[in-house]
């Protein structure tokens, strides 16, 4: 646990240094695109006057001064697969964003969408000595949580105290200063594969940047796509990405569960590519222009030119009806949603008071998806778009940028994590101090 504290605290210090300097980059390394935003922090509430939006999630304390997107290379299922290609793609996005911002960025906050996240619920309890809950008691109760054996080769990405209970009162977000006998806490621990983090870190270091923060993509999409009451009452954010689909469940403004399905929009594209025997680029184009999940009678008559450049007249003038295309897309989308349903059921989503489901991410833009999703996931389904933030270009306000925008909000006001509290004093090695005191006593 110690090295986790140290590495996470080093990262936190770097983030604070970057905030001091005022410029930080946001890097969303996805399977289909890499988005980079450059944020400038000018202190809180700077843009309040000329912007109708107040500070809902701290988004008014920064402004986006550079934004760039590039097609992702060398990334599969949200994990870096070919290092040099991924590095080049990251570099492209960063360079374009820096050029737009006209400022040099040294710190970057990144998010991972894949890397097989796994959620753990921990709890810990301590008896209070003084009766009054202090900051140190919170550190102690967090340290009292029993860390599960999450296995070698995995790393903790988030460890957020979700709930505090004092004696028989529960549901407290901040028990400091209250009086009680026994303090207990629930904590949500999210681990991911360490190799994915290391690969991403390597790519970022190769771009001469320092990593100032790391977050789960599902979590940050939830931050930006869920509105406040959804976060409070309980909701699931489904981030339908290119290579993976992230699931995050929120209640009481805390993420309590996160998972990812290793299927996404790229799988649909490859289905189209195989089904119509067209190249991936053409398949992607056909998907974005004509894709859908609900076929109507009109779609039988709408013929789509799928083209080709073989020189064979017959081959190059193939057409396919939109109904056929939908017939290819729909089963795959259903499969993804079924998988999401399975994960949510496994997490016990049906026990939440409100079961709002918000679909976001690039693949959520398929027309008719909300209708299909409500059949599979439940009645309360809506399509979510990320929160408005200042200075974000129009092109980057779509649902595909939920992760990037959420990461900006995460950078602006991060949630308290385990390592943000002090390590309890008894965890420090006391022997060396005692020996030093003894040496003083003996010699003076």
């Amino acid at each position: 646990m110690k090295e986790l504290y140290e590495s996470q605290r080093a990262m936190r210090n770097m983030r604070q240094a970057a905030m001091q300097r005022g410029v930080i980059a946001i890097l969303d390394v996805g399977t289909s695109k890499i988005a980079c935003l450059v944020l400038r922090f000018d202190g809180p509430e700077r843009f309040r006057d000329n912007d109708g939006v107040g500070s809902m999630a701290g988004q008014s304390s920064f402004r986006v001064i550079g934004a760039a997107t590039t097609r992702s290379r060398g990334v599969r299922f949200g994990e870096v697969e070919a290092m040099s290609e991924a590095e080049r793609a990251i570099r492209t996005a960063l360079q374009a964003a820096q050029k737009m911002a006209n400022v040099r960025v040294d710190h970057v906050i990144a998010c991972l969408s894949g890397a097989r996240p796994r959620s753990y619920g921990l709890d810990g309890a301590i008896d209070l000595q003084g009766g009054l809950v202090t900051e140190g008691d919170i550190g102690r109760v967090l340290a009292a949580c029993e860390v599960p054996d999450y296995g070698d080769g995995r790393q903790v990405l988030h460890a957020q105290p979700v709930n505090f209970a004092l004696d028989n009162r529960t549901g407290m977000s901040d028990p400091r200063g209250q009086i009680g006998q026994r303090l207990s806490t629930d904590m949500h621990l999210l681990t991911v594969e360490a190799s994915a983090i290391q690969n991403l870190l390597y790519c970022i270091n190769r771009c001469d940047l320092e990593l100032a923060g790391l977050a789960s993509s599902a979590y940050v999409s939830g931050i930006s796509a869920l509105v406040e009451d959804e976060q409070e009452l309980g909701a699931a954010c489904i981030d339908l990405g290119g290579g993976s689909t992230g699931i995050s469940v929120f209640i009481k403004k805390h993420m309590i569960y996160s998972d990812s399905v290793r299927m996404g929009g790229d799988l649909v594209t490859s289905d189209i590519s195989m089904g119509l025997s067209v190249p991936m680029a053409t398949a992607e184009r056909i998907k974005t222009f004509y894709g859908g999940v609900v076929a109507t009678g009109m779609d039988d008559r709408e013929m789509i030119k799928i083209g080709g450049d073989t020189g064979d007249w017959e081959h190059d003038r193939r057409t396919v009806s939109r109904a056929e295309l939908i017939g290819i897309i729909r089963p795959r989308v259903e499969e993804i949603l079924e998988e999401v349903r399975t994960r949510l059921d496994a997490a016990g989503f049906e026990h939440l008071p409100s079961q709002q489901i918000v679909l976001t991410g690039g693949a959520s833009q398929i027309p008719g998806l909300d209708g299909l999703a409500s059949k599979i996931l439940g009645q309360q389904v809506r399509l979510g778009r990320p929160l408005r933030v200042h200075g974000l270009p129009q092109a980057a306000t779509g649902p595909a940028f939920a992760g990037a925008v959420g990461l900006s909000l995460f950078a602006a006001n991060p949630q308290d994590e385990w390592w943000d509290f002090e390590i309890p004093a008894e965890k420090y090695p006391a022997r060396s101090l005692k020996r030093a005191v003894k040496w003083f006593k003996d010699n003076w």
């Binding site: 590039t70 290379r73 080049r88 793609a89 570099r91 492209t92 960063l94 360079q95 820096q98 050029k99 006209n102 400022v103 040099r104 190769r206 771009c207 001469d208």
Partner: protein, 293 residues
């Protein structure tokens, strides 16, 4: 797997060097250095490279001197002559001697302050003002020192002014018999007192030969017939006035007195000539004898 060294175009990605270059150019300090430092550096380098050669530097200095000289030699700045005001003929001749100015000369080449000091170094000059008057005239205004006394030293006579400054050498006392004579160490510093003694002389004035400062603290008055009046340190003038009064009333100094010692105001003392003492004793002896008889 394709070959590792991919020969295919690498897409829109910038090369690592290009990326670094762009980041470097976005560094504010570096950008300022390029935009300001580099041009300045280039100019400095070019000038320095050109100035390495002795000829180039000499050319610059020559040209500079030429321009300066041509400006300074313009007729507006030329001084044609010198006018000395406030000095008598001998002094103005001296001044012309000590100021080695070859007319015409540019006023830029003259150091007026230095010249003023040279002029003021002359004994007879009390205060000098030099300026270049319009019309190219070097105007020298002199306030001459006025001799008020003759100062006798072991090596000769000097004229001194009221402040004790030496004005000129004097060869013969007779040349300036109108001025009082002072002598002795410290006489110059206390000249005002000595002159006050002279003024107090009254009827004794024709007999005064001089005043002598004794031991840098008090005055002696020397009269003709080698008579001396020794005055006290404090308030010598009133002591002298007493002597003058005595001399007027009783013709004391007409008698055979060598020294009148006024140093102790309570007990003025007279020393007589030897023959006078003898004569006095004889008279007194006769008186005694007469008394004894």
């Amino acid at each position: 797997m394709r070959t590792l060294k991919s020969s295919s175009p690498r897409g829109p990605a910038p090369s690592r060097m290009g990326y670094r270059y762009q980041r470097l150019m976005l560094t504010p300090l570096f950008r300022r250095m390029i935009r300001v430092g580099l041009p300045i550096g280039a100019v400095v380098f070019a000038v320095g490279f050109w100035a390495i050669h002795e000829d180039n530097r000499a050319m610059i200095t020559n040209k500079y001197d030429e321009v300066v000289a041509s400006f300074q030699q313009r007729p507006e700045f030329m001084v044609q002559m010198m006018a000395v005001d406030g000095a008598d003929d001998a002094l103005s001749r001296d001044i012309r001697d000590v100021l080695p100015v070859e007319f015409p000369v540019s006023s830029f080449d003259m150091n007026l302050e230095e010249m003023r000091q040279t002029v003021e170094a002359l004994n007879a000059v009390g205060d000098a003002t030099l300026r270049v008057r319009p019309g190219g005239i070097l105007q020298v205004d002199i306030v001459q020192r006025v001799a008020v006394a003759v100062w006798r030293q072991s090596d000769g006579l000097r004229l001194i002014d009221a402040d004790g400054h030496i004005v000129a050498l004097l060869h013969y006392r007779g040349d300036r018999s109108d001025l009082p004579l002072v002598a002795g160490d410290g006489a110059r510093e206390n000249l005002a007192e000595g002159l006050a003694l002279y003024r107090a002389a009254g009827p004794l004035a024709p007999r005064m030969r001089g005043v002598v400062r004794m031991g840098e603290r008090r005055w002696d008055i020397v009269l003709d017939r080698d008579q001396r009046i020794l005055l006290p340190t404090d308030d010598p003038v009133s002591a002298f006035e007493r002597v003058v009064a005595l001399a007027q009333a009783q013709d004391m100094l007409e008698r055979d007195v060598v020294t009148v010692d006024m140093r102790n105001a309570d007990r003025p003392t007279i020393r007589m000539n030897e023959q006078a003492v003898v004569a006095l004793r004889r008279i007194n002896g006769i008186d005694e004898e007469l008394g004894q008889e």
